[in-house]
Structure formats: C-alpha cells, structure tokens
Amino acid sequence: MKKVYLDYSATTPVDERVFKKMMPFFSQKYGNASSLHSFGQESKLVLEGAREKVADLISASSEEIIFTSSATESNNLALKGLLKKGDHLIISSIEHHCVEETANYLKREGVLVTKLEVDKKGFVKDLQKNIQKNTVLISIIHASNEIGVIQDIEKIGKIAKKNNILFHTDAAQSFGKVPIDVKYIDLLTASSHKIYGPKGAACLYVKKGIKLTPLLHGGGQEQGLRPSTYNISAIVGFGKAAEIAGKEMEKDYNHQVFLRDKIIEEALKIKGCYLNGDNQKRLPNNINLRFSGIEGEALVIKLDLEGIAVSTGSACASAKLEPSSVLLALGLKPHQAHGSLRISLGKYTTEKEIDYFLKILLKSVKELKQISPYK
C-alpha cells in the first residue's frame, strides 16, 4: 500500500546527511566529551561545533546554548529553573502540554499562573494588562504545534523588556522552519527531531547573565545547568540538522507553503470544511482543518487505512475524552473541535502525495458524512 506521511509536526525522519554525520560517533568516536584525553577532546570539538551551528540559526552566541534531551526538558528547565513560590508566570492558553503541565505543577508549588486567552485566529491577547508587580516570566509558544499560528515574538519580547520581565518561547515547531532572532528573547526552546535531526537532542537558549537553577545535579556539564554525559551522536546530528535547516530554509519554506496553500484551497471547497487558526501567520507546514458532521478520529483512522498519516485534536483521540484545549481556546465549541484534522508537511512531501491525500480526503469525508446524521 502507498504510504504518505503527513505528520511531520509529530516528528520527522532523520536527513540522510545528518545520519551519515552521526554514524562515527557510536562505535568509532565514542569519547566522553568531558575527558581530557584525545578521545574526549575529539568529542569535545564536535560538541562545540554543533553548539555553534545551533546558535547561528537563532543569532545567538554558542555559550548561550544549553543542550538537553528534549524540548520538554528545555521547557521544564526554563520554567522550573526561574520560578519560585510567590512568583507570577504568564503563559498562553495554547501552550504545548510540556509548558502547560509544568505551569500546573508550579502552581501547586505556590507559583501564580495566568493563562492568556487567544483571539479567534489564535493570537495571544491582553499581555500588558496581565502583568503584575511579581511577574517574573512570560512563556509563550512561538508557533503552535496544533494550529501552526506564529505569535509576534518581537512584540511580546519588547513588552517583556519594557516591564523588566524575562521572556521564554517554546520554538520547537518553528526553529529551523522560519527565521528567528533572539534579540528580544531571553530563553528559547528548540528541538532536533522536528528538523530532520535525531530524537534525544534539544536545547535551551539562555541569554547571557540569566541565572537558572538546574533540574539535575551532577558533573557540571553545560555550565552546571544540565549535568549528564553528552549524547554526542545525537548532538552532532542536531548540529548538522540545524546547519542544513539554515542553508535550505528558504527553499523548504517555499516548497511547503505551496503545498500547504494547495491543500487549504482544495479542502475549503468541501462543504462544511473550515481552517483553524490564522491563514497567513502560520507555519509553512501546518494545516488544521475542521469538518462539520464528522469526527476527527474516524477520519484519521479512515486515512490511515489508505496509508495516510495525519492527526486530530478530537476528544475521541484522547485518553481523557476531552477535545484539544488549544482548539477550545480559539472559541470553538466541543463539537467543532471534534471534527478537527491536523496535516503537517515536510521538506520531503511531494505534490503527488498531496494530490493523493486530497483525493482520499474527499472520498473519506463523503463516506463518513453518509454515515452521519448531520450531512
């Protein structure tokens, strides 16, 4: 059966060039980058090379990059590393679980948390209004993993700066896909496996001078902020992936925007189909649709039976039977969130695959509507 992967926001395949770069670091160049001998120093050298490549992509300096194992860890480090009881934290109502749940944890620990609402298109509202005397950190997702909407981080960063508050952004979905400059950002989370690098490598950008409390204590690696033996192969892969993403960003961006807009244009011709989130300021690879009268999980399964991989924010796909909080934050009713479908493209997605997807989508929606009481 034909297989079409359209869930690149979940994870991406490792770029062959990245994989090749990683290969020697398993059995040949296995030194611990913290060791003094030549084995260790060889690893140390490539470690710092990778750090530079990641830093370059966001116009940071390399000593501001702290390698971690995942975006989840980076977000945890940023929030838990900065906040203590009595502090005030501002996040948005469309954060990824790893920020939302960390904020919920901190709330139980005595941190005050405000979740900013978003407008119908998915942009955060009322930031200035919600700043308090004890606000220490604003953490707003750069590009939504679900609806792909890109926040104006420069504007948010300027507000934070004006009020002498730190600004962290989870850029797991946008890093390497759209240009980012950390000028107005104090902390930023980026991940390797979303940009054709391996899983198990990520980073937290921490602007010079900002003091964090580490989550782990140990051998002092990463300026003491993230002690653990370096996962050198994954970090090398991350660095190579960042380098490629920087060089090929424009090409990949244009390719994906073309396919994205084709899907949106064709899908919106289907009766009862709508686009979730703003249609302009969104990731080049994200399409989030909703269909009235049918259920997202059923649509995902139907597409899967035809070899197509996509995802949904429907309640039926979640263990808690609750629709996606991100979609509800847009003001959608639960039954509207019920019919949602997320399609995320990648640099390897072809127009032929999109044509096949559109054909099967049309057929699947039609079939499910025939079964549904609401046509």
Partner: protein, 131 residues
C-alpha cells in the same frame, strides 16, 4: 490507536447505515461527554424488528458498534433486542481499547431509546422502560 480486524471491518464496511424511510421509531442519542451522536431507526411489525439502520457521528469504534448492533438486532423480537448488553458487543469484537468501551454502551442506549420511542408512539404494553 490500533483496532482489531473486526472493528476495522465494521468501520470500513458498515452494515445497515443511513436514514430509513417511514421508520416505526427513532432513537436519538447525543453523548455530551465525548460528543458522539447516534441515531437508530427501527421498522417493527408485530414485535419483530424487521429492519434497523443507524446514522452515527463518532469515532471509528462508535461507528463499528452501531454497525455491529444493527446486525445483531435485525430479525429479533423487541424482547430479544432488549437483552443485548454492551458486553455482548464488546465480546463480539474481542478486544476493545479501554477508552473505547463506552462506545458499546452508547450503541445499546441508542437502541433502547429507539424502542422507547416505539412504545411512546403507540403501544403502552412495554413496561421495562429504561432511561
């Protein structure tokens, strides 16, 4: 989520779906929790369910349950149909993911609603009315 072949078959090729012309009764179930909607149509003659169809807005397992239920009910007497429990549907499927067990309950509830609707419309001999 991976479903077994029986669930997938009923989902892929659902039996007895679609609106029924001149049904004897209709049961409309709207589940507020998960958002699923199930409508069951019945054609009843002398206490025998001669025909049954469904319309469902729901996940793959909800659709599969609706389909399976109709195949189990068709031709049965009302009394026999009322004996069908959610566990019978689950047993027929074999393996159902825990979070999807309630879908079978919804299907049975929709059928009961339809049978209730039949009695509400005409006969009053039915005493085992359930909510």
């Amino acid at each position: 989520m991976s479903y077994n072949e029986k669930i997938i078959n009923h989902f892929k090729n659902p039996k007895n779906y679609g609106k029924m012309k001149n049904p004897s009764a209709v049961g409309k179930l709207d589940n507020k929790n998960c958002g699923d909607v199930m409508w069951i149509y019945l054609k009843i003659k002398e206490d025998i369910i001669e025909d049954i169809s469904f319309e469902t807005l729901g996940c793959a397992v909800a659709i599969a349950n609706s389909s399976l239920l109709t195949t189990m009910v068709k031709g049965k007497t009302i009394k026999e149909a009322l004996k069908i429990k959610d566990k019978d549907l689950i047993k027929e499927f074999g393996q159902v993911p825990k979070v999807k067990l309630h879908c079978s309950f919804l299907a049975v509830k929709a059928l009961k609603k339809a049978i209730n609707n039949y009695y509400e419309k005409g006969s009053s001999s039915y005493v085992g009315r359930s909510r």
